[in-house]
């Protein structure tokens, strides 16, 4: 964002508040699509991970080719105002990149779990992850063509979700639909704190 900030001369620039929201779900559930639909910046492409050979070492000189690979990571940003930004991070598709998940989840406001009704079980690991860490989340039921129409209640049963976890039918390609997912998450976070966000 390149808007000119008029900080009083001589004062340090104000540091914006950044809220982190995670976008999770199984492979092909629509994470990349959702982050791109919502973001004002182009998605970030990669983040290194270290394979077993590299973990625990501080220097990969000479072994860098063996020691590193990349994992695609979705990153997006929504500027609410000059002091408040929402950052979206898609979790890596593989459940085994746990250490990346932990970094992403650190300090997160909450998460959107995308569920593909054709492969519901794929989002179980994400749901487990957020439940175990008490990270508030909502479930976006992605409406793919050719998928049978399930009732939200049957999806809720299949996912064994708490009754208070919001579920929203969505289309990850559609910005408005994505916005509604994020709004339902923020309202859920607010409700969990016992402070309802009034509808303006």
């Amino acid at each position: 964002m390149d808007s000119v900030r008029s900080d009083p001369p001589g004062s340090a620039p104000r540091i914006p508040l950044a809220l982190k929201i995670l976008i999770a779900g199984g492979f092909g559930a629509g994470k990349t699509t959702l982050v791109s639909a919502l973001s004002e910046v182009r998605p970030l492409q990669t983040e290194e991970i270290l394979t077993g050979a590299g973990i625990g070492t501080d220097d990969v000189s000479g072994v860098e080719q063996k020691a590193t690979t990349t994992v695609a990571m979705d990153f997006g940003r929504i500027t609410i105002n000059e002091d408040l930004q929402v950052y979206l991070f898609g979790t890596p598709g593989q459940d085994r990149f746990w250490f990346l998940w932990d970094e992403l989840a650190f300090g997160a406001l909450g998460a959107v779990v995308l569920a593909d009704t054709r492969r519901l079980a794929d989002c179980f690991p994400s749901i487990d992850y957020f439940e175990q860490r008490n990270i508030p989340f909502v479930v976006g039921v992605n409406c793919f063509e050719g998928s049978r129409r399930f009732s939200l209640e049957s999806v809720r049963d299949a996912l064994d979700l708490d009754p208070d976890v919001p579920m929203v039918l969505c289309d990850a390609r559609d910005r408005q639909s994505g916005k509604l997912l994020l709004i339902s998450l923020v309202e859920h976070v607010a409700r969990q704190r016992g402070e309802p966000v009034p509808v303006p």
């Binding site: 104000r14 290194e48 080719q65």
Partner: protein, 129 residues
């Protein structure tokens, strides 16, 4: 728990993993910054009058980071804008921090939850998008 623990290392490479690369050439092979931290949403701010030009041992990317951080910028944004991997950005930022050329503002801790007025601002900001 429904999830499985990480499998054998060779299984780490699959469709969502990129090619095996050498991204750490820029950092001289260092994969960890000199200090811990640099959360993805930590904000970096160049020190007032920071001048990386005369500093030996700095790469052009160090200078680009300082220039971009003349106004507060998040670590994830730096990586995206400079088209560098986050791990590389962290190492370079560690160098800059050690030389006093930047300051880093880490996000508040896990226990921190934004207050009601912030959540309201987010909801109305999202509605207005």
């Amino acid at each position: 728990m429904r999830a499985e623990s990480p499998g054998p290392q060779h299984e780490w490479l699959d469709a969502a993993a990129g090619p095996v690369v050498r991204p750490y050439t820029l950092t001289g092979g260092r994969v960890r910054p000199a200090v811990e931290g640099f959360d993805l949403v930590a904000f970096v701010l160049a020190a007032p009058a920071a001048d990386p030009t005369g500093q030996p041992g700095l790469q052009p990317e160090h200078r680009r980071l300082v220039e971009r951080a003349r106004r507060p910028v998040a670590v994830a944004d730096l990586a995206a804008e400079l088209d560098l991997a986050v791990g590389v950005v962290r190492v370079l930022l560690g160098d800059l921090l050690a030389r006093g050329l930047v300051a880093v503002h880490e996000p508040r801790a896990t226990a921190y939850l934004p207050d009601e007025s912030i959540l309201k601002a987010v909801v109305s900001g999202l509605r207005a998008l």
